[in-house]
């Protein structure tokens, strides 16, 4: 390569903790040094190890040119914005960070990025969906980079049993951004004498993917409706339900209603699934009647769609019976083994973590007994020693499995349980509110609001309480104002666990309502 260098070639590696940015850096330095190049690398130790993001910097310069000119280049210790030839990002949000730091510039920078995400703590700990959309970064990256290579390197590494660094190295080799032949890269892996076969496999995978132009990038997780297709029924009851749906419901609602109905069938029985469809039908008719009065919003079935979804979830609430049923199902056990990555005959014990409280116990009792127990302080005290701590049940041993199977069998008496009564009241009250709104927008807002009532323990109680607070706060308001406020409060209710934001929003709403 007889290229005359005006300045050193700069490589910036954007790495996360434990990703092996150091390994990649060392490989690059070794490749350069064994191929007639001077190389300097720098990094800040320790930051990456503790899961922050960090930047490794490598600079290269041909030794021959240095000898001929008698001049040594001045290497930098931190990539100079606007002056970086190759940026490698081991995770997609780090790609955005590289762009922000000015490391990626037109006509200069080859950008190689892994499309997988390692979610940050703020994204993970949000009460709902805190994932930050990366689509704009994809768009900007393809505009600002000279060449943009992106694919899921984590997956490549997993498939080849290697580490992400070797996949990155393969992609670097394929990109042609560095003046070394493929063999030079491979020789360095060999010289490392550590997991050579696996690393070469990872390199190969990275090289292949990197040789293609930008792979189709995985779009950001959809915030809009999931696109659903009609599910298959397993038996005659399910088939009959699907037929009824095809016959009675508008095409745009069929798929979601089918998912809901089959869920209800699986959860209880065919009558329960029928009840689901009856309830849904009412809402559909209600929405159609509003449309006839020219009250429709942009999506003519928005309310029905949301109700179809939420109604199924509310009707198939998770009580101890349902949890036991899920935990003992064959499909779930197979899923667990696949997660644990075990071979066919390999023993793998599964220990479940339960912490049923007094409330969950009462929920599962017959209606009147459950209600009386819940109101009785002495019963609560008396049960405390049994329910005060978490329980572990091993579902891979016979006794543990049998216990849960027995619990799951209580399903046939579910309609008589205390929780079924309260849940039915909740659902019917909700549906009544949805249909009393007399405005599609307001209906939709209420339909969405029930989403916060879910789960178990604190999560369930917090959701239920906030949901009820919202309904009473918007009561008696004109529909338009009520719709907007319901949405606002719904959002505030999911802003923080402690409820500070929600309390503030609620207070503000009360004051305004009072004034208005």
């Amino acid at each position: 390569m007889e290229h005359k260098f005006e300045r050193p070639l700069t490589v910036a590696i954007m790495a996360l903790g434990g990703q092996g940015g150091g390994v990649l850096t060392k490989w690059l330095v070794d490749i350069a040094q064994s191929n007639g190049y001077l190389a300097q690398s720098t990094y800040v130790a320790g930051v990456a190890q503790r899961t922050g993001a960090t930047v490794y910097c490598v600079e290269l310069f041909p030794e021959k040119q240095m000898r001929e000119s008698g001049r040594e280049p001045v290497f930098t210790t931190y990539p100079v914005p606007g002056d970086v030839d190759l940026v490698v990002a081991g995770e997609f949000a780090e790609t955005g960070r590289a762009i922000q730091k000015g490391f990626v510039t037109p006509n200069i920078t080859t950008l190689i990025a892994s499309t997988h995400r390692v979610y940050t703590i703020t994204e993970k700990s949000a009460m709902g969906d805190g994932i930050i959309d990366q689509a704009p970064v994809v768009e900007v990256a393809s505009k600002v980079a000279r060449k943009f290579i992106a694919f899921d390197m984590e997956e490549c590494a997993e498939q080849t049993g290697s580490i992400i660094s070797s996949v990155m190295l393969g992609a670097i080799a394929a990109s042609g951004a560095l003046p070394f032949a493929r063999e030079a890269f491979e020789n360095t892996i060999r010289a490392g004498a550590k997991a050579v076969a696996a690393n070469l496999a990872g390199f190969q995978a990275g090289f292949e993917q990197g040789s293609q132009t930008v792979a189709a990038l995985g779009a950001a997780p959809a915030r809009t409706r999931k696109v659903l297709s009609m599910p298959e029924a397993e038996g005659p009851n399910g088939k009959a339900l699907l037929e009824r749906i095809r016959r009675e419901l508008p095409p745009s609602l069929q798929a979601i209603a089918a998912h809901g109905a089959l869920r209800a069938l699986d959860y209880q029985d065919v009558a329960y699934a029928g009840l689901y469809l009856d309830r849904l039908h009412q809402v559909i008719r209600y929405e159609q009647s509003l449309a006839a009065k020219k009250q429709a919003s942009t999506e003519p079935d928005a309310v029905s769609h949301e109700v179809a979804r939420e109604l199924a979830l509310q009707m198939c609430y998770e009580d101890t019976i349902r949890v036991a049923e899920i935990k003992t199902s064959g499909q779930r056990m197979r899923g667990v083994r696949s997660h644990l990555n075990v071979t066919q005959q390999q023993p793998a014990h599964v220990v479940e973590y339960f912490h049923p409280r007094f409330e969950e116990l009462c929920d599962t009792l017959p209606r009147s007994l459950g209600k009386r127990m819940l109101q009785s302080n002495s019963a609560r005290r008396w049960m405390q020693p049994f329910l005060g701590k978490g329980r572990n049940i091993t579902t891979t041993n016979v006794i543990g499995y049998a216990q849960l199977t027995l619990l799951a069998k209580l399903k046939r008496w579910r309609r008589g349980t205390y929780r079924f009564t309260t849940q039915t009241r909740l659902i019917e009250d909700w549906l009544a509110h949805v249909q009393a709104a007399a405005d599609t927008d307001y209906s939709l807002a209420i339909a969405q609001c029930i989403g916060m009532v879910k789960g178990y323990g604190d999560t369930y109680e917090r959701g239920l309480h906030r949901y009820q607070q919202i309904l009473s706060a918007v009561e008696e308001l004109p529909p338009q104002r009520a719709a907007a406020l319901t949405r606002q409060l719904n959002q505030a209710a999911q802003a923080d666990e402690e409820g500070k934001v929600f309390a503030e929003a609620l207070n503000k709403a009360r004051l305004e309502n009072h004034a208005g």
Binding site: R7, T42, V44, A45, G102, G235
Partner: protein
């Protein structure tokens, strides 16, 4: 045993005259110390010089061969006090720490050393933790050099220059009887490069010879009247001697350039960034050939008046690139120019920002402003970022911050989970935090901790709240800080002053945050060190009556012990030692062994957690009580649900925290623990087969009934 091993790299320390040494800055510094005939080395770890301590630990054999004593000091103060060996004897010594925090701790001993002066060369290698990647308050070690009158060398980030600087530092120290700071900036410590080595030198006088032939000079002891004499010596003898050495050996460099009117003075450590920035602006090439003459200030203290004057004289203006504040150099240079009636304008802060790191972007702006002011015809080339600035600004909301946090399976996590749960019950407490990994508690998801006053000062930081109250203060202290000074400044102080507060000592066997260095209370047997001294025993020894040691992963016990301590009516401090080994170090040791055992056919059980997709509510309460990197989220596979669900990824080490949290916080029943049996025994296999058959039969029955209804 530290987190990173340098066992292989340290072999290079043995190479001799004329051979090429290839390695990182810290290794090069070590080699330079050996080439300089150092007799003793001490220090306290901390980024960015943690690895220098690790290299020295791993270089034990080489050091022993040369008769060099190396000590992992109890604190920077202890390390600095080691320098006393160079006061009476011509013994060369080096000590190292993170600065300015370490220098703060060491300053008592340093001031004494600088007052009496040294006979043998003493080099203080400071890792200047300033700018991006730094974890401490942004200050300058420069101030300490000035107040104690120690000299300071700031070499460019270039391995050969750093090695040269070490060698000169010893010579300069001896020529002027003054300890010398060698400043290593963050990115210099791990900069790679090469230099031509020379032979290692045994110290000409051994420590043993010195100890057996004691020598004493009362004029070197800091006590009146000698202390008054020292002050005179500093300015009348040692300073001029230093100036002479620096000038004679050309430690500062001048790079000539064609401009007659303008020039640049730059701190040595910033030289490389300056050149690369000038190259972008067409003011220099990438090899250092510059249009504006540059005075590279490798010794920022003391300044050489004559050199400054001669560089500036005749120029219209000189740009000073001085990072950090206050602008000591600018003040100093201005005063030199004034004294010499030099009319050259000195342009520094104002054109450059008053504070903050001088990155290439900052320098670019400063240079453009300087050159275009004094060369009106000059046009800066278009900024390559200019054309894309709108695009780049557009993604601002799509780049989530990624703060550091506790590692996968970290044993400190359950302590904070327990604290969070306890506070949910009893309300918030004043929490005095300390320095160490545990300080990540101030970040999400834990968000706790009011202040941090310095290493080991967690308990002392709560000492004012020594007042009758329903909520005694809670202090956090790491084992590192505890042994550094917390035992006396915190626990002893609380015993003596009868403070009722609770101190939680995080005992994870290592100084974990600095890279897993061994400690007094570490559980490992360590060559040449005495370990396994329990923290609970130490606090009882100092007068604490209420002390408990609890395994951190037992959140229930941790929570009840916290409540017990906070409701205890006895006078005097309560100490809870939260004990469990640092997972990073544990995994580093155990993982290869487990892999080997599995490969060798031994029966091994590995644990891993998982979350049931169907039962997870997508509320993420578990994550808000954990923050473990392996507990993450993924899109919800349920066609009816949209909120991402919790998910335990491949990196789970099975520490058990997720399950404990689910129990203690009464979360959802989604967590399960998998116990995978590798190389099962005959009994394992038989039991498994019986269980699988019975469960399979039960399952088939349920499935049959289910299908009938479906």
């Amino acid at each position: 045993m530290a987190e990173r091993s340098f066992k292989k790299e340290v072999e290079q320390l043995r190479i001799g005259e004329g051979e090429v040494f290839n390695g990182e800055g810290i290794l090069a510094v070590t080699k330079a110390l050996l080439q300089s005939g150092v007799a003793y080395v001490g220090g306290y770890q901390g980024a960015p010089i943690s690895h220098l301590m690790d290299v020295l630990t791993d270089a034990r054999d080489v050091l022993d061969e040369l008769g060099v004593h190396f000590e992992t000091s109890a604190s920077e103060a202890a390390a600095a006090a080691m320098g006393a060996a160079s006061v009476n004897y011509p013994l060369r010594g080096a000590v190292t720490w993170k600065s300015t925090v370490g220098t703060n701790v060491a300053s008592d001993a340093l001031a004494n050393l600088s007052s009496g002066g040294v006979k043998g060369g003493l080099v203080v290698i400071v890792g200047e933790d300033y700018g991006e990647g730094s974890s401490i308050m942004q200050e300058r070690t420069h101030a300490f050099a000035m107040k104690s009158q120690m000299w300071m060398i700031d070499p460019p980030p270039h391995v050969a220059s750093i090695v040269e600087a070490v060698e000169h530092a010893f010579e300069l120290s001896e020529a002027s009887n003054t300890p010398v700071f060698l400043q290593l900036r963050i990115r210099s410590c791990h900069v790679s490069g090469s230099f031509i080595a020379s032979d290692n030198r045994k110290p000409p006088l051994s420590l043993r010879e010195a100890a057996e032939n004691p020598n004493r000079d009362t004029s070197r002891i800091v006590l009146p009247p000698a202390s008054f004499l020292h002050e005179q010596e500093k300015v009348n003898q040692r300073w001029p001697a230093a100036v002479e050495y620096i000038q004679k050996h050309g430690l500062n460099k001048v790079f000539s350039g064609e401009s007659q009117e303008l020039g640049i003075i730059v701190q040595g450590g910033l030289y490389n960034t300056l050149i690369r920035t000038m190259e972008r602006l067409g003011l220099a090439d990438a090899f250092g050939k510059t249009r504006l003459p540059i005075y590279q200030l490798n010794v920022p203290y003391p300044l050489i008046d004559e050199e400054i004057e001669s560089f500036c004289a005749g120029k219209q203006a000189v740009l000073l690139v001085e990072e950090g504040q206050p602008n000591y150099l600018e003040q100093n240079i201005n005063s030199i120019l004034r004294q010499h009636d030099t009319t050259t304008k000195l342009i520094g802060k104002g054109t450059f920002p008053k504070a903050g790191e001088y990155t290439s972007e900052v320098m670019r702006k400063g240079l453009i402003s300087f050159v275009s002011r004094f060369e009106p015809g000059w046009q800066a080339p278009q900024d390559p970022l200019h054309s894309i600035s709108a695009l780049v600004a557009g993604i601002a909301d799509h780049v989530p911050p990624r703060p550091p946090g506790l590692c996968i399976g970290c044993p400190e996590r359950p302590v904070f989970t327990a604290l969070k749960l306890m506070q949910k019950e009893l309300g918030d407490f004043h929490i005095s935090a300390d320095i160490g990994c545990h300080l990540f508690s101030i970040l999400p998801p834990f968000n706790m901790g009011n202040t941090t006053m310095g290493y080991g000062l967690g308990t002392a930081g709560a000492s004012a709240f020594n007042t009758p109250s329903s909520k005694p203060p809670i202090s956090i202290m790491g084992d590192g800080g505890f042994w550094h000074n917390g035992l006396t400044s915190g626990i002893g102080n609380a015993v003596f002053n009868k403070n009722d507060g609770l101190t939680i000592v995080i005992d994870n066997n290592y100084a974990a945050a600095t890279g897993g260095q061994d400690l007094l209370s570490g559980k490992n047997e360590v060559r040449n060190r005495s370990t396994q001294h329990p923290i609970e025993k130490a606090v009882r020894g100092i007068g604490v009556d209420w002390a408990r040691t609890v395994k951190t992963y037992d959140i229930g016990k941790m929570r009840s012990t916290l409540k017990e301590a906070l409701s205890n009516k006895e006078k005097g401090p309560k100490v809870l030692v939260a004990q469990s080994e640092c997972m990073l170090n544990r995994e580093r040791r155990e993982k290869p062994l487990v892999r080997k055992d599995i490969a060798a056919g031994k029966r091994v059980i590995q644990e891993r957690f998982g979350v049931d997709e169907q039962t997870c509510t997508g509320d993420h309460a578990c994550i808000r009580l954990s923050g473990c990197p392996s507990l993450t989220i993924k899109p919800n596979p349920d066609p009816l649900k949209s909120k991402p669900i919790a998910f335990v990824d491949n990196s789970c080490v099975g520490c058990g925290n997720c399950g404990e949290v689910a129990h203690e916080a009464v979360l959802c029943p989604s967590f399960y623990k998998g116990q995978i049996v590798f190389n099962p025994s005959g009994w394992d296999r038989m039991l498994w087969s019986v269980r699988s058959r019975v469960i399979g039969w039960l399952q088939a029955g349920t499935e049959r009934r289910r299908l009938k209804m479906a």
